[in-house]
Amino acid sequence: MRVLLIDDEKELVSTLCERLALRGIQAHWAADGQEGLDKAARTNYQWAVIDLKMPGLDGRRVIELIKQKQPDIKIILVSGHSAAGELDACRLAGADCFLVKPFELEELLAKLRGED
């Protein structure tokens, strides 16, 4: 399984990638939306885990752009809070599911495995 994590918190995504790699998942990270789109254009990912609030392109815009190029990619949107309106807006933008920070790796793994 190939997963792309996009979050401006470099320490967070790099650590998550390392933990996913320990579990045999090929995980790459990008520190902003544009870098994420560039990586997604070069590699065929099954999943993208995208932070909602980032400088430059925000999570919603990244989802729209990534889905235009890779309609089959599944998206997990990550946010610091879980306002209902925000969740609806993210679903409309094309996110398949949602995680609220801080989340446990097991929650992310369950979503990647389609168990949740």
């Binding site: 918190e9 998550l16 933990r19 609030k53 920070k101």
Partner: protein, 217 residues
Amino acid sequence: MSNAHADWQLLCRQGLEFFGRVTANLSHEMKNCLAIMNEQTYLLKELLEMEAQGRRQEPGRIQDLAGKIIERIQETDRVIKRLNTFAHSADEESRVLEAGQLLELVAQLYRRLAALKGLELELETPPASLTLTANPFFLEAALFACLDAVCQAGEPGRGPIRLWVEEGSDEVRFWVGGAQPGELEPGSGPAPGILQVLGARLESREDALGLELPRGS
């Protein structure tokens, strides 16, 4: 309802909006720190478990990770101290304030929001001797609104948003600049009621917003 009562209600609402915006922002910063510490601590645990099973880790990897966790704890502590200082700014209606300290606090409160726009803040700290007597909470609200107005007009790559203070004989002027000429939204900046409480006047240069206040007794 009397005009005075309506004005008071409006001021309370504006104050509460500012309080909510700042605390939401700080709680977001804390959540980010916690999320990072959470991942790093679990990774540390997993690497130690592997080491215990005889799978040697890269030299220095565990110390490096522990060092990063300590840095994040210290960062979280700074955010909490900032929140505490901000919360206590509503304790008194008026007190003697160091202009530099106040400007630094407001810059710290706003820094993440500026970063989300891809903007950097640059502070010119005035001497500690530059003080004024004012309502700390509403002065923070007014400076935050100035900063917000300039940052809304700012674009990444055009240099930092600057904050500085000018000292007059009987007044202090706080300035926030960096937006390009003509880009500030008309009417942006602090609400009139907040300016009134502070006895402050809003000044506008082509690339900056300023707040002039009497230094007080």
